[in-house]
Symmetry: C2
């Protein structure tokens, strides 16, 4: 872990200006209209789980903290903004002396999270709370997307190690670096991305490519060269020419000729193309017959949760998976649709809830300053539901708790024998970071523990049960009253 | 442009260690086996155009040059690698004193490119040429993917400006930053990503979000506040509550009350949700009737090339598009499958071609050190075909040139009245960068000029004609002879 810390210097890019330009024009406008310091509340949340899954895995909070801790406009930034001729001197001065002063709450990384609940809440001066929109969304959207996809793939692998191999197909350098971090949070055992081990302490692994085999005069020569260089780490890629006719026989010959005399067991073989099920079964038979029952078979060929499920059902003999492009880009659904919406403002120290309405009911926001309680069954420790409440609401675990569906309100459930957990933690107070991120391996373990608390019906990959995310009676009433205050606009819509 | 240069400092992250671990284990193994300095040739190429398109737009060369120019292992890197206990002291010394000495050729950014032709070729010591694999793939795969998608979207917009609005949904920070760069190369007129203007001089634009409207006591107050702050830049987002019943009437009222008396024309309105076609037509009518025929209508709502084509066919009244997640992640196909394969080695100063064979014929590589000629018709200046040849081949434009399909070799074409262009340029000589990248706006113009040289049949979005990429007779013969030398392995495959 000590090594890791030294390398955080790589993060010291100044990303302050990675901001949608409209956050600057709005900031300038807020200031001009005397509302720059009006206290605003924003929630980051998402509306739909990718891949029709049952839950997502929260990720990216550590990088969000790093970003919010290092906000700083350089002289060059100010000079550039001045050249746009859109901003007042007062606003440019504000940026020059920018001091982040918001309060921020977030759901810690590794938690299973669900649609419509705030993952991040920001409270602070309108200029600032607005300014951080792009980076909050970008950071949490990206890592939560990949952690969630990784979790699906790792579940499909049913206990077999999954290694993240996708750097070369990632969408940009950070796509590779933070993508591998998120992949490990989601469950991967290792990554091929070397810099990620330096930065996050997650294990980097790798052996050889086809080019190793091609560079030598023959496959046998290439394997021999490897076994000589890495006798203790002899995992051979056997599909450069033909797995069964060339690769595997050459591998076994080299195991016999160069490892056996030294009493060293080979790690195994890797196959990167062809009919995985057929080849892995055949290779298993042949390896066993040759006395290499302990040699592992690793597969890496455009895999995802569906292919992994399928080949395992077919009885493929696979010990571990290397997963590339379909994990590092979440190929089947490469966008995590988190949004960042104003939920309240303060006027004379009173919180005034705000709502965004829409013809599409799902796009209507939850107003007010809120928190989330996750409700667990006392006997089983399984998660029963999440309850979004107003921030001041306290749940007395000794009382029966009635929860109800926010749309079909006659669907009710009375809970006894439960306990609750306040899901969000405060990560910034008056602009100062007050939360220390666990290590990536700790987050990974935490994710495993917390997902284990979900019912199998929520965990399954296909047609999972929808986990309950309800609103407290108080929040539901508030939302209804705000909606009714806008009902005139809706009445006239049929015109 | 002067401002831009100052900001290149943002790129000064050391990404040397963004490398698949197996490139290091192979490097160490090459050295141990005495082949570290053997001269190797690698090609980067792709096999399939995303979205069933007719061509791709090359992008990312500038960042590749920056990376290759700045390769450097720090003491911390060496210390970390040492801790892995996989590497010899000799190899660690090699890295400590690493001096990039390869020759590199690339197709310049903005060029239309096609499957199976080398986009990048590296010649150099095996350790080095192997080492740069991940970053070459990552850089070119990402930017070429986004430039290609952007080009599709901009073509669908049929001359209307398209703005890149996707930072918040990008896959990581570089996904946003370099994605917006590639989007402009592909044809976008601007981006919302502020830092991209600082870094690349591409215009950053933006006005307001829904939160601006919500923060004020009413939509009218919010619009009034905007018109006061930005009278000359009055583009109002009209869908926070209801476009036709609230947003547009309030916008027109504010145009009339606050801009008209000053003799200022509004920029227009933006709609971010709902039925684009219906709303844009209605808004156009109402704006025209109110005397704002010059007010522009901008649309931004989960757009891509298909939706844009569709709404324009339906007669939507749209002046410009803001495109987000589906562009910045190339959502419909978020992976560009570039690969990096050994094509030759040198032995006693003689180039010895290498081939990677596969059961899947499309995965068989083109051997040898190669170049690409693009052949143009002298009369029309239209591109006829690309011809991949061995590097030493020269085409005499005065002679008839016969090209043939590399699979169906009886499909032949005799060319007269043509000229050729050598597509690749050398960007590194003995490890030293010798190519200066044009600006992003120059590359964008170049991309437009070069794509205009493709036939409309290749340009169209649906079922485009397959552009010819042929092999010279000499290269074809070489490939056949290498394939036949491996035919024994294939003979036995039916077993």
């Amino acid at each position: 872990m000590e090594l890791t810390k030294n390398f955080d210097v790589r993060n010291e890019r100044n990303l302050t200006m990675l901001v949608d330009f409209y956050e600057l024009t709005m900031g300038n406008g807020y200031l001009k209209n005397g509302v720059g310091d009006k206290i605003a509340y924003f929630d980051m949340f998402f509306r739909r789980i990718p891949d029709e899954g049952g839950y997502c895995i929260m990720a990216g909070v550590m990088q969000l903290i790093e970003y919010l801790s290092s906000l700083k406009f350089t002289d060059n930034d100010i000079e550039y903004l001045k050249s746009k001729k859109s901003f007042s001197d007062e606003f440019l001065d504000y940026l020059r002396n920018f001091k982040f002063s918001c309060d921020v709450w977030a759901i810690p990384e590794g938690n299973p999270v669900f649609p419509n609940e705030p993952l991040v809440t920001v409270r602070g001066p309108a200029i600032q709370a607005q300014f951080v929109e792009t980076m909050i969304l970008l950071t949490i959207n990206h890592q939560t997307l990949i952690a969630t996809k990784s979790n699906r793939i790792c579940r499909a692998a049913a206990g077999r190690p999954v290694m993240e191999f996708g750097s070369r197909r990632a969408q940009g350098y950070d796509g590779a670096i933070y993508g591998s971090r998120a992949a490990v949070i989601g469950g991967c055992s290792a990554t091929a991305c070397t810099i990620s081990e330096e930065m996050f302490g997650i294990p980097a692994v790798g052996t050889m490519a086809h080019s190793w085999v091609q560079l030598f005069d023959s496959e046998y020569e290439a394997f021999k060269a490897w076994a000589t260089a890495y006798p203790e780490d002899c995992l051979l890629l056997v599909d450069t020419y033909n797995v069964l006719k060339s690769g595997l026989p050459n591998a076994i010959r080299v195991f016999n000729e160069f490892l056996k005399p030294q009493g060293i067991r080979p790690i195994g073989i890797r196959i990167d193309s062809g009919d995985i099920t057929y080849l892995s079964k055949k290779c298993r038979e042949i390896l066993d017959a040759a006395g290499y029952e302990d040699a592992k078979i690793t597969i890496s060929n455009s895999l995802d949760e569906h292919i992994i499920t399928d080949v395992l059902v077919q009885g493929a003999c696979i010990d571990s998976f290397g997963v590339g492009e379909r994990l590092i880009t979440a190929k089947s659904e490469p966008v995590f649709g988190g949004v960042y919406k104003l939920s309240a403002i303060e006027e004379n120290n009173i919180i005034k809830p705000k709502i965004k309405i829409s013809e599409n009911e799902e796009k209507i926001t939850n107003p007010g300053f809120k928190k989330i309680y996750r409700i667990f069954d006392k006997t089983t420790d399984k998660a029963i539901a999440d309850l979004i409440t107003l921030n001041e609401e306290v749940i007395d675990e000794n009382l029966t708790l009635e929860i109800f569906d926010p749309t079909y309100t006659w669907k009710k459930k009375k809970l006894k024998n439960y306990y609750v957990k306040d899901l969000m933690v405060q990560i910034f107070k008056n602009g100062k970071a007050i939360y220390e991120s666990p290590s990536v391996s700790e987050i990974k373990e935490f994710a495993k523990t917390e997902t284990d608390k979900l019912w199998p019906e929520v965990l399954r990959l296909e047609n999972p049960h929808t986990y309950y995310v309800d609103l407290s009676k108080k929040l539901w009433d508030l939302k209804q009253s705000l909606l009714h205050s806008y009902s005139e606009i809706y009445e006239e819509q049929g015109e």
